[in-house]
Subunit: 235 residues, 2 copies
């Protein structure tokens, strides 16, 4: 992995967005990594400054409105059930488009990739997302790529939820070098020992895959309908 | 791993505590797992309802005071630089002692173990904590045990920060069975691919270990002083 040495000189502006129905771990995992980058500032961004409730009830507080945010070097876009609404929110999509022109990296975690897609940022880019939404990438003109972290030019996308750690460490290394990323990994004692081999649809027991898919079916049906609508009508 | 079948009938009360200077990932990782347990309620607890700022600036909102909390079946105790103060906070320690009598499990993540130690809950128990604080466990009469997750009777302790995922999934399986834990693991796509082999002091490059240790030295010197004081004077 090569360090992007053009960055070493200046301070980094890093922004992460919050929205209602976010999956908090898509944000908090990468925050844990990226907020430790030397010579950088992490901006916790949202449309409004109203506290934001995650899909399971954890409340996070945004600190800066999109409209007040400076240009970011790195923008973190998490996912969660709330992306169904965010994909249709013109203000958020416009903010992402504007930031992405100059940002050095845009990091989507989990279904945050669908928000990038809705903003038109995945066209012709290899990308990944949560396994259950993987089939939706193609609607945005992305090149669906089944990997835990996919880096294509400035778009870095990761698989579901916990893949945010792997993506954030990769980006940390790109921005500040491998030694810095390794220090962060050591501090976070990131030497995982998952107790089961159930972390992907390929390795999970069939009954586990079936029940998990069944649980997600209504959300995904709604999501497909929304994506078909917005990709046809170009909001 | 055996399921604790006595639990299958009733709803689970799960509580996690917040405090200033928490390392938010110690809380948010296990929250991500445990808030998905069926037939359960997750209580976000703190001394006061004042928003709590984590060591890197993320603000989380407690929803219930210690004094209003019902008896928990599972109590999550995160760590962070703020444990230096929490180890000396009589109200928090008393809350933990009282809850631990009846709770089926107490799960410490990272230096949350030191808070359990200060509450007297580690005496004669095998336990682990963040690698940089591992040498401090013995002051509390614990049996320091170098593993990612240590389960000794009702005390479940994990290594640093990201080990909370492994510990929470183990507890999820104990409380609700392996199929449920595997479903959660699949939903979270927890099939980690750390980009470097730097997640433990044994595997990190020597210069990475040295600089990370140096960065933590002042906090640890203060911590040792506090622990010597409280274990001598029995607060």
């Amino acid at each position: 992995m090569l360090q992007d040495t053009t960055s070493a000189a200046g301070g980094l502006e890093i922004g992460g967005i919050l929205f209602p129905g976010i999956d908090q771990a898509d944000f908090t995992g990468p925050f844990e990594v990226l907020s430790r980058l030397p010579n950088s500032q992490f901006h916790i961004l949202a449309r409004h400054l109203t506290p934001v409730r995650d899909g399971k009830g954890l409340v996070l507080i945004p600190e800066e409105r999109f409209s007040d945010a400076p240009q970011m070097d790195l923008l973190l876009v998490p996912g969660g059930s709330g992306v169904n609404a965010v994909m249709q929110d013109a203000e958020t999509l416009e903010f992402l488009r504007r930031q992405a022109v100059i940002a050095r990296y845009v990091l989507s975690v989990c279904t945050g990739a669908l928000v990038l897609g809705a903003a038109g940022l995945l066209k012709g880019h290899r990308a990944t997302t949560h396994w259950a939404s993987f089939h939706l990438l193609e609607y945005f003109g992305a090149i669906p790529t089944n990997a835990r972290v996919v880096i294509d030019r400035k778009i870095v996308s990761t698989a579901g939820v916990t893949a945010g750690y792997d993506g954030a460490l990769r980006v940390a290394a790109l921005l500040r070098g491998e030694l810095v990323a390794q220090e962060i990994q050591l501090f976070l004692e990131y030497s995982p020992e998952p107790p089961f081999n159930s972390g992907t649809p390929e390795t999970a027991p069939p009954e586990v895959l079936r029940s998990t898919r069944d649980g997600l079916a209504p959300l995904l049906a709604e999501r497909l309908k929304i994506i078909k609508h917005i990709t046809t009508h170009k909001i």
